[in-house]
């Protein structure tokens, strides 16, 4: 596994819960991410899917050290980011950028598109000030935005254009790795297709590596070479795109896939449906044993008692289930 750019080992992120007005003390922990391990290879897209509250965004933020993980390691080119701080970490951040879900919330309303895009350059002192306008020009053409929009403010853009500005900002420092956190879920289907295609083009052109976080299985399946499925802070299945989508082994993955409707009448009628009961349990009070067992259609005694760990069932295909 020497071709991996990023390796995550047993990553944990616990958020403390405090109670008491005068002397707050820690009463509990929310285990947002609880022992997650995976690696991302150079030039690939790893898709991370899961329902809301499964901890997928937290994983993304932990990779970039925007949250400092409670335990575990994040190795970027074999350097452990978790131990880094200050200048050293800032230097690493140049290689890792992020694209956010809500382009409106993540762009300052008081800065023009050009200001927003050049801010990372100012922070990292990458190029002389005089070259900024040239760089803006380059970035605008990369994300296929018209240059005459450079001096506009975020509210003057359409949602798709705004997301392009967000992408240009991430690209400004020529990163190697980008965490895309639900980059298209706020967009209309046609615009969604445009942004997905843009991300694919950029990956090919600039040899980028993506961690693509989304709840939409169809989008993740389209863009990813490998996919990890998360449930309540743990990865329950990890494998090649086609392994996950054509031969899902974990009952949760199967249910998730069967819940997604397909825009084709004939195919939709022929599909087998697995209906899950109930809601996702709270991460504050996760079920015992395998955390999926209360909703699982094939759970038995063993599942209530002990939590299964990820095991390789076929080459590159890992599943955490006693019954798979």
């Amino acid at each position: 596994m020497n071709d991996s750019l990023i390796e995550v080992k047993n990553l944990k992120m616990y958020f403390p819960i405090f109670a008491g007005l005068l002397f707050p003390r820690k009463v509990d922990e929310l285990k947002a991410v609880d022992g997650v391990s995976f690696s991302i290879r150079r030039g690939e897209t790893l898709g991370l899917v899961g329902e809301s509250g499964s901890g997928k965004t937290t994983v993304g933020l932990c990779l970039l050290q925007l949250y400092r993980p409670s335990a575990g390691e994040v190795l970027y080119e074999e350097k452990n980011l978790v131990r880094m701080k200050g200048k050293e970490l800032r230097r690493m951040r140049r290689k890792m950028q992020m694209i956010f879900q809500d382009p409106y919330g993540s762009l300052s309303p008081r800065m023009t598109a050009a200001d927003i895009i050049t801010e990372p350059l100012r922070i990292h002192h990458l190029i002389p000030y005089t070259d900024y306008s040239k760089r803006v020009e380059e970035l605008f053409s990369l994300v296929e935005l018209n240059l005459h929009l450079a001096n506009r403010y975020p509210h003057e853009f359409s949602a798709g254009e705004r997301q392009r500005v967000g992408i240009a900002r991430a690209l400004a420092v020529s990163p190697e790795f980008i965490v895309c956190d639900e980059p298209v879920s706020a967009l209309d289907v046609c615009v969604q297709a445009q942004i997905i295609s843009l991300l694919e083009d950029l990956q090919a052109k600039l040899n980028l590596t993506y961690l693509f976080i989304a709840h939409d299985l169809a989008v993740v399946g389209h863009i990813s070479s490998r996919v990890a499925v998360m449930y309540l802070g743990k990865i329950c299945e990890l494998g090649q795109r086609n392994q996950i989508y054509q031969n899902p082994l974990h009952p949760y993955t199967r249910a998730l896939l069967s819940a997604v409707p397909v825009p084709d009448r004939a195919a939709e009628k022929a599909r087998q449906r697995i209906m899950l009961k109930g809601d996702v349990p709270s991460a504050l009070n996760p079920p015992s044993g395998c955390n999926f067992h209360p909703r699982c259609p094939i759970a038995n005694q063993a599942c209530e008692e002990a939590s299964p760990s990820l095991e390789m069932k076929e080459p590159e295909h890992w599943v955490a289930c006693w019954r798979a």
Partner: protein
């Protein structure tokens, strides 16, 4: 085919803001039969929500319904007085909104909220109401109904809140249920649960369902008839099977091709349609989809294509259909 229940004829809703008139809904017509599921599909801003609000006359200032007819049981709803309209809303036609948090009252417990239409429309007694509400809660899959009756909206998860909304909408057994993006804010597994519940209940009560969504997968799974909307107009309509097998309008085709699908292998590329829907505040000459259309003709620049019918109730507005 079952009886015709609702007929929307040339409905127009315009928004008058300052000097501009935004034609949010510009002459749409469709029929709803008893017990049928009708889908309205389109991108955001295409007028699907405004058109459904117009049906029950909930369009607020500066919007105005400026023309058309909504024939329900032989009466034109647009001609009713506000008093008469109140007897239709909730009783004959009910609505489930997209945001279950903002459409529930945060300071009333959910039992009271579900009971309200029962008291108002059916004049139920206190005890009977309580019983009916717990029954309804049970029907929509909220267990422990007696205790949950007294809970407030914030104590429910998003999916559960939407169940409460469904219970409320179906409380008076309406003839028509309008569901405006009922599951867009929810996770896929919850989405599937709720849509199955809603369509199942609608079928059991013989309620027609008007399903407003941008998700073509949901349309394929649940709808009987489909109306594709673009820029305030219906560009294609017909039976769901026909629309999915032989889409005629380039916009329908674009919608179908630009969504990634999980049942196929990895495609190399999504087909993209450049550009955005037009600004409805300006007068547009010709077909509204023309600037984005790969199949446009010279004629498309001059006049808006009329709805053309093919066999088996398939209509499309295009000069150069596929």
């Amino acid at each position: 085919m079952s009886n015709l229940l609702l007929q929307v004829k040339d409905l127009r809703t315009y928004f008058y803001t300052g000097k501009t008139i935004t034609r949010a809904v510009d002459g749409i017509s469709y029929d709803v039969h008893e017990g049928e599921t009708v889908a309205l599909v389109g991108e955001s801003g295409c007028g699907k929500t405004v058109s459904s609000l117009s049906l029950i006359r909930l369009v607020s200032y500066p919007g105005r319904i400026t023309g058309g007819q909504v024939l329900f049981d032989g009466k034109d709803l647009l001609q009713l007085s506000e008093e008469e309209m109140r007897h239709v809303r909730g009783r004959q036609m009910a609505m489930v909104f997209q945001e279950p948090m903002t459409s529930l009252n945060p300071v009333l417990n959910i039992g009271e909220q579900i009971a309200e239409p029962l008291r108002v429309h059916l004049r139920m007694e206190h005890k009977a109401t309580y019983q009916r509400v717990t029954e309804l809660l049970h029907t929509v899959g909220i267990s422990d109904a007696e205790r949950r009756y007294h809970d407030y909206p914030h104590q429910f998860s998003g999916g559960m809140r939407q169940r409460v909304m469904i219970a409320m909408a179906l409380s008076c057994s309406p003839k028509i249920l309008i569901a405006d993006e009922p599951t867009t804010a929810l996770d896929v597994t919850i989405q599937a649960q709720l849509l199955d519940l809603m369509t199942g209940l609608a079928r059991r009560l013989d309620t027609a369902l008007i399903l407003i969504t941008h998700n073509l997968g949901i349309v394929a799974r649940y709808a009987d008839t489909v109306n594709v909307m673009y820029a305030g107009r219906i560009v294609e309509s017909g039976r769901a099977d026909t629309i999915f097998e032989q889409p005629k309008h380039p916009y329908t085709l674009a919608l179908l091709q630009c969504v990634p699908r999980i049942d196929l292998g990895q495609l190399t590329r999504l087909s993209t349609t450049e550009g955005l829907p037009p600004d409805l505040g300006h007068e547009i000459i010709g077909c509204y989809f023309r600037p984005r259309c790969p199949f446009r003709l010279g004629r498309c620049f001059q006049e808006y294509p009329p709805l053309t019918a093919t066999d088996n109730q398939h209509y499309y507005a295009c000069f150069n259909p596929r």
